[in-house]
Symmetry: C3
Subunit: 355 residues, 3 copies
């Protein structure tokens, strides 16, 4: 486990005050880190969001626990009483373990081309390359080895982890984070077939526009638009290995789990959730609030609702018996319908004849 | 949207001449950029490949439009008359927005090892590493932070975007493009199990050979061969997040969409198309012209034709009801067949008895 | 094909001695490289693990062949007689083609921060960044452009290919390999929803702990833990484009093929095998020895055994007919059961009435 940043502890009373809630017990207790119930020590704080973990509480050595008042009735230890322990845990994690402030300055091995604008309070790591016309906002952190293309803009307070690539003309808003090895603004996959001559490339003239407080994971790609821009609105969160093709538009607060692929020109609404491994074909519209389970294959536009398509693992012997049936399913279904009609009509005949 | 390169405009008459087609209207109209119908200005050119977009044309401010003569009959604006507007759009995009010529020279932060050959007209970006014995062809562009391994060869006019990795001994032909964060020639996944001792690595002795005019997206991997080479023929186009395992062979002009995985030693023919998210197991042969829909799982060799396998998203309530039936499908199918036989034989019996 | 390292040849008798087996024929024959049956020359060695390839042997120009005694009965060429030719091939590949020893030293373009410990025998490539508190073990090789975060530890003999990112506090054991563009220790995807305000980030306080002799492919991500660590035990092998989420635990000798995704907090046992493209949802337990076929979707904990779920490609005409039936499968299944009961009861009635 990585060490908490030294000197960033908070007392229980301070945490309760920041959360605007009550606490019971030792308000002076110094909390230096978050921990799991089993990994906690006297300067750690834990959370219990599910009552099933209450049984683990007596053995837990944490200095304090974030929990619901209803769960804490018989609890004699130091507790901070919250309505939503998971949300409180998130906030406390930021106060205790949030990234250190940017260290203003440009590392001597970084290459900043003439005509690039780097705010004096930004931190530019080793071996970064910033091309002409790019701009880096106040207190932004550009990790080691990042590439910022010509005319790209990185907003104030945004942090790029090491080895992020942002291509020319793309814009990332304020207080975003992009994790390592991700690529923002690679050319979209656009080619026109020419008979007998293969594929003619379509130059991708659009860029990528990313709003504020967007989080993008590692090894994720957001392609630049063909003509207009690919757009990701404020507060979107995106996990690792996600592919967002050219001219996709993703609405505010939508969450996209790992290994999702979204094909070109599809619009995903606000407050949607795409489960891990799901994929969405191109030129669709997913309305606000659509929820898609893991590994779902979306082939048509969807109204608000919950959707799924994947079949779960089964023992291989069953699977082998099912496979041939699945492939000739339409024949089985047809026979099934014939039989149903036959049996029903027999039944009717019988019924009639017995009248 | 990124700016078009200054000074690269073309007049309408010039575009028509390059396309070897006729135009109507103002041949002197200067066109500086491609645009969508809604985003166009007087120095933009648009295209209409589908008649359903003709209704948007009156409001479009473009200087000229690429369209079919049949669609342009009543159109009073400047039009360039083409048989295939989408293909014409691709070509015009290259003339207006194609990459600037390489800027000959090696950036002072690049590391070029003794014994590497870099053509004087090649452009080598900041923080590039070129190992001994590697060679970089004329007018090639090696983006910032690329790594070119020992003995690797990059052909004339080929462009590697920033942060591409090409490992030792791999060859990329002429006029190819590889986008950021892709890895050409990583070791194939080859291990032999040794009882009670886990896995013994099999050194991957082959390399990767890529033909001319091949396009490879971002975050894509093409593994080196175990003994012989992994091969990608001329004019193949490959999108982002694609995995091409060791000793795969991909035929000319084949197109591979995003998030596709192809397992070891499989041969994909020429002019194939693999839809996004599809996967192909190892040691198969896909004949020329095979088309595979998105998210298809290919487990056997395929003759020319169109194939699919994925099930589309449905409302989660339906999905929940279907799942248990799908898992015990073979039992259902068996009963179904019993019933069918029974009902048929009843029918026969009835038929016979009624004779 | 890449060249074998010069001067690393072995004589047939030496290879047999290293394998602790017998040979027949020319023990002095110098072997410099492994080759496929069709690509071999007189200084190559081949292997035959499947008797179906014996027909190709007469035309093969290899100096020696690794094969089973039973397959070599009538073979007059130089053979090394082994029980498991594939395993022998793996071992010989390491002796002939294993990586060259590390070249001790730190490239002048590498940035090693104060307080980092780099063993004198380690090889640190160009443009590497090693942050304060990190340590690099004996004879480790850190490829060009790698990033080693603060406090991270790289064990002795471990090799990172160019452009690997290891974030702060993560530990990689001895004799591991990580291939290009992979990211170890990116933040896990942890966010708590706050009504009307989107997502609150949960700082990821854990790290990644990787054991000895672990192999990790290219473009693969292993996320750091939320509170405790993400753990990969000794001897695990992982292919390209794999996503391992926060707090996953992977047991010894487990093999994970390309494009697999494993969601948070799932525990995979020892000696498991996950086929390419398979995915495992979070908070599950896969027991030791679970085998999952390619493209399988695992949604529940699994006992030792073999599992599958994916449906294979079919001609698109069949697929189109099957799709609507699959979506309304529960209705069909219901009717099917009604008919079955009806026909059975009819049968019973008939049977009874005929008594």
């Amino acid at each position: 486990m990585s060490e908490p940043a030294s000197g960033r502890g908070l007392r229980v009373a301070e945490i309760a005050q920041l959360l605007e809630v009550d606490f019971r017990g030792d308000g002076d207790c110094l909390i230096e880190s978050l921990a799991s119930l089993s990994g906690a020590g006297p300067r750690s704080i834990c959370f219990v969001s599910d009552a099933k973990y209450l049984v683990d509480l007596p053995a837990c050595r944490a200095g304090a626990v974030l929990m619901r008042a209803a769960d804490a009735v018989d609890c004699e230890r130091t507790v901070i009483l919250v309505d939503n322990p998971y949300l409180a845990y998130a906030k406390v994690s930021q106060w205790l373990h949030g990234a250190a402030p940017s260290q203003a300055g440009i590392h001597p091995t970084a290459v900043v081309m003439d005509g690039a604008e780097v705010c004096a309070t930004a931190e530019i790591g080793p071996h970064v390359v910033i091309e002409a016309g790019a701009s880096i906002g106040a207190e932004a952190v550009i990790g080691a080895g990042c590439y910022i293309g010509a005319g790209a803009k990185i907003g104030a307070g945004t942090r790029l982890a090491p080895r992020v690539t942002v291509l020319h003309g793309c814009e990332i808003g304020q207080h975003c984070r992009v994790l390592s090895a991700s690529v923002i603004g690679a050319d979209g996959f656009g080619f026109a077939p020419e008979r007998g001559k293969g594929w003619q490339r379509i130059e991708q003239v659009g860029a990528v526009r990313i709003g504020d407080r967007v989080e993008i994971g590692a090894c994720t790609t957001v392609d630049r638009g063909a003509l207009d821009d690919t757009v990701i609105e404020d507060g979107v969160i995106i996990d690792n290995h996600v592919q967002i093709a050219h001219n996709v538009h993703i609405g505010k607060y939508t969450a996209i789990a790992g290994c999702v692929g979204i094909a070109g020109s599809t619009r995903i609404g606000q407050n949607c959730q795409l489960g891990g491994g799901s994929s969405v074909v191109g030129h669709l519209q997913l309305d606000d609030g659509v929820v898609v389970f893991a590994n779902t294959f979306v082939t048509s536009s969807l109204k608000a609702g919950v959707y799924a398509s994947a079949t779960a693992a089964q023992p291989v012997a069953d699977w082998r018996r099912n496979q041939p049936n699945l492939r000739q399913f339409h024949q089985l279904a047809k026979r099934m319908r014939q039989v149903f009609v036959k049996v029903c009509s027999d039944q009717n005949t019988t019924a009639n004849s017995s009248e």
